[in-house]
Subunit: 431 residues, 3 copies
Amino acid sequence: MIATKSSPIDQLCAQLDEIVLIDPHSHINPHAAASKNLGDILGYHYFTELAHSAGMPREVIEAPGITAKEKVGRIVEGLAHLDNTIQVKWLIELCDRFFGFQDDRLTPDNWEALYDHSEKLMSAPDWEQTILQKSRLEAVFLTNDFDDPLTGFDTKKYIPCLRTDDLVFHLQKPEVRQRLAKATGFDCATPAKLIHAIGQLFTHFVSHGAKACAISLPPDFEPTPVSHVDAEGPLRAAYAGHMLTTEQSQVLSRFVFWTIAEFCSEHHLPFDLMIGVNRRVYESGVYQGQDLFDQRVSLYQYRRLFNAFPRVKFPISVLAHASNMELVSYAWIFPNVIANGHWWYSNIPAFIEPDCRSRLEAIPRNKNIGYYSDMYKLEFGWPKFQMYRRVLAKVLFEDFVVGRHWSEERAVELGRQILRGNVETIFSGAC
Amino acid sequence: MIATKSSPIDQLCAQLDEIVLIDPHSHINPHAAASKNLGDILGYHYFTELAHSAGMPREVIEAPGITAKEKVGRIVEGLAHLDNTIQVKWLIELCDRFFGFQDDRLTPDNWEALYDHSEKLMSAPDWEQTILQKSRLEAVFLTNDFDDPLTGFDTKKYIPCLRTDDLVFHLQKPEVRQRLAKATGFDCATPAKLIHAIGQLFTHFVSHGAKACAISLPPDFEPTPVSHVDAEGPLRAAYAGHMLTTEQSQVLSRFVFWTIAEFCSEHHLPFDLMIGVNRRVYESGVYQGQDLFDQRVSLYQYRRLFNAFPRVKFPISVLAHASNMELVSYAWIFPNVIANGHWWYSNIPAFIEPDCRSRLEAIPRNKNIGYYSDMYKLEFGWPKFQMYRRVLAKVLFEDFVVGRHWSEERAVELGRQILRGNVETIFSGAC
Amino acid sequence: MIATKSSPIDQLCAQLDEIVLIDPHSHINPHAAASKNLGDILGYHYFTELAHSAGMPREVIEAPGITAKEKVGRIVEGLAHLDNTIQVKWLIELCDRFFGFQDDRLTPDNWEALYDHSEKLMSAPDWEQTILQKSRLEAVFLTNDFDDPLTGFDTKKYIPCLRTDDLVFHLQKPEVRQRLAKATGFDCATPAKLIHAIGQLFTHFVSHGAKACAISLPPDFEPTPVSHVDAEGPLRAAYAGHMLTTEQSQVLSRFVFWTIAEFCSEHHLPFDLMIGVNRRVYESGVYQGQDLFDQRVSLYQYRRLFNAFPRVKFPISVLAHASNMELVSYAWIFPNVIANGHWWYSNIPAFIEPDCRSRLEAIPRNKNIGYYSDMYKLEFGWPKFQMYRRVLAKVLFEDFVVGRHWSEERAVELGRQILRGNVETIFSGAC
């Protein structure tokens, strides 16, 4: 489909671009939300891991003690191998939009001027606000550690979300147990105590405006209820500092996970499930460039959970593109299953387009959250959402305006609900 | 691809629309084939399950004692959340075609007039014949219970098909054993007797014009031959009313399945395999809205079957879109494997288009059955086939007329074989 | 997308067609690289297996003692059922290009004239060279048995590649052990001796210009290191002629595979992994038409291998289309994982297009080998590459020229790297 400047798809996209957004999932640090220099931007794992994959040694990229500027200079050396990637397109588009960068490539010849120019812009005291406005971002969901004090920032703009990976998968680590004890004042060596402590975390988060709970899950995870009796042994072993067997770890993870789901139900908090990641598959990879997946996973593993917690909304992201059809079908049947964005390795137009198309064809429109940025720095919100908007505009135009003779207004209204409306209704706040 | 009223794709589609069809798989009740009112139409599980998924309580939808009209009024309340779905497009298109409905949405404001108007139309004594004619349906395959007497209807128009799910998977249920005993006059507590009884069912069906045998199968089913000795214990246990172990159930299912395949071979009946459904995954779902699937399934599980029965044609439907490539490849290699339609959760254009494209590129044209309606009421034949025809016309135009410089006539001829011709040659009748 | 004669996609494709190629994977016999008659061409397994699948008995196709001409006459009888397939499009296109065939179908009426005419052309002494030139093929990789003497041909034009399937999976066969003994002069009944022998094979291949090692792997294979102690029992059992248990076979396969990877590392030879084939699934199939696959496979099974051999480049082909997303993701993260072509059942445009699109969007451009022919006879190089070039031109045009406003020159340059440049840099030769 040719989409020239004046194409109807572009026009539709321009209308979608007007919509003020709430980004329902990011890794923004609310105390340093915007970038300070190009180092923060080129340091995004997408660029370091791709440069590494294309041949640059990790030692070059992650050399200790190099300045941000040196690091940028090094990564730019690797960009020539990556100029085809959609990730470099994000980079060029954000440099154009926010720094007035006019070239179509970032090269060893032009990067330094951009570095210096952009650093000046980013040092403006209102840079963070400028980015939010230029990106039409009204609010951004965070992903907070369970022991985050959640103070010192505006929780209406940066909305807390309780990340529970550490609780579910890492209670065996002494530092996690110590952080939990410090955050709650509890020794949690029995199931009852652990439940009580987790309840405290929920109270803390909810009282600070949290609107979601979230977790990323490996492909072989299968949630089931676990009795206190069954959980007690593994939990005590963990607190005694013993090495757990695979079986014990699994029992403990399932127990904590199910407990968290119960508190989500009690507090009416949606529970974001990000399904399918295997951590540290490539241990010699760069920082945050070590995780991959195994596509042999099914939402069928979650059937007991979906049945047991009808009042908990589960916005679900799947890492494997092959999982999208299950997500469409489970969201089509289960009232509490919601399709949520396009995660990580599936976050490229080649996968977003078929996924978006099928979701719009078969999921009730009020259960489809189009996109989240997953960003670490605010500057990436605009180009990532823009990538999605282009795909969405194409699908709305081809399938609805042309395929079903919808008016453009009606199509844009559907886009608005997917991009913004559902974020509000689904994450409407705890009670 | 823009397909305006006068587009070449539309023109090609219009030619496909002229083809008189034999629908090779449906759930039509031949004694009440057409709808009596909008309740029969809005009661289709696609609308109730989607309305339920979008937030309407099951108790509202399935309240005991409500009239058909009340039920329609309630479901219409939920349609606003579903107007994006392809299923609602079926609804609007059939209301337009059969009832002269002019609006583009069915709403709380306009449904009642449509209800009353359409009820009058449907009360005409020739309504069933009108629908068949307007839908260009010459004949429709049924899905009959094994104890169906197959009398009281025209088996040339409504073609019997022996559904074998109960025999293969539910012999442990007393009512199934009783129905079998009643249908055959047999106590079937030994393998030999059971085989004899199943043989009687085949004789009954074939003598009443049955042209296929069919079954839906869970993702973990793997057919293998089972000896009488191995089957005897589980079968006797079932007939003694004992609870079978998982292992025993599996052995018994495999034994019955293999026996049925043998009778298909003897009677030259195609055996429709509908692969991949898990039943009652969501037990609180509405009627017929409880089943889902696990994409981790492979046609490799069926290799022994395909090898053992070279004379049995196996028209295969797969529930998971991810299984389509295996279906294409197995149909490309095995003479007795035939690609059959687009089933249930994979029956939306987003999945049909890539599936259709690959099947046309790599399966011999005489082994590709384009589509079946799977309908419960005749009114759905036209909009469902129409959805498929649009996709087929697009693929034929783009890949064959443009991509291979075929004439439009040649492309339509291929479409005719896929839509109609292969149904006749593949289900040519028992002998 | 309409691609008429003068479309911009066609123009882009024409430029790609100018690129002189090195085909990085084929099954060419360098002593008989070109066909002698249409029997060599119609005898390609794609035509025999599809004709067989469409209904022609194997006994007809593979009747002993029939002449090449008789065989062609028989297969042509089956082509009417296959004229929709992309494989028959290869046939028609090569007959047009190389033999001046003007019809759009090969039929019982016109095949004999083509047979006779083409046989004359193919008898020209420079036919092989003619085909290479018309196909713009500069060099072609072979797939050589481990005991191939590699003499009597120009290894610059026909580049040796060590095929290791027999060593890894068939050491239990006496003939394989005998061939190994003959090739190396070694009895290999101990791990140390076997390693030494394999080392000899590598030395032999490298000294004859081999530029790659290759293997095809079943879906359930998972490479791990195996100690000499653990390998010794299974190896001795194999050499004693005992039947190995499944477990023993697996240990032995893993030991040999890991050993080969170690020699690849030592010799800086890329190791082509062709992942996912199950052999002899359909034992009654025609020659080379018996293999299929099980889509339940993951590159996660190869994580230890990728981590253990950072210096070995692994150009990877996946048989299941569903595996493409993992290949994209693993190539995006692991520096030594390279996406390689479109293999066998996934080698049709319906799968190539989405696969190509995602690879261009997310894999560094220097790690993406667009295509290889996999051909047995030189005549198939052109139509198979042409099929790929059309898809590549479409993706380059739509996603890069239109979608990213790249100049046509820049898009063609990316195409050149994918089609040719990366073959040179990745298979740059042992050292």
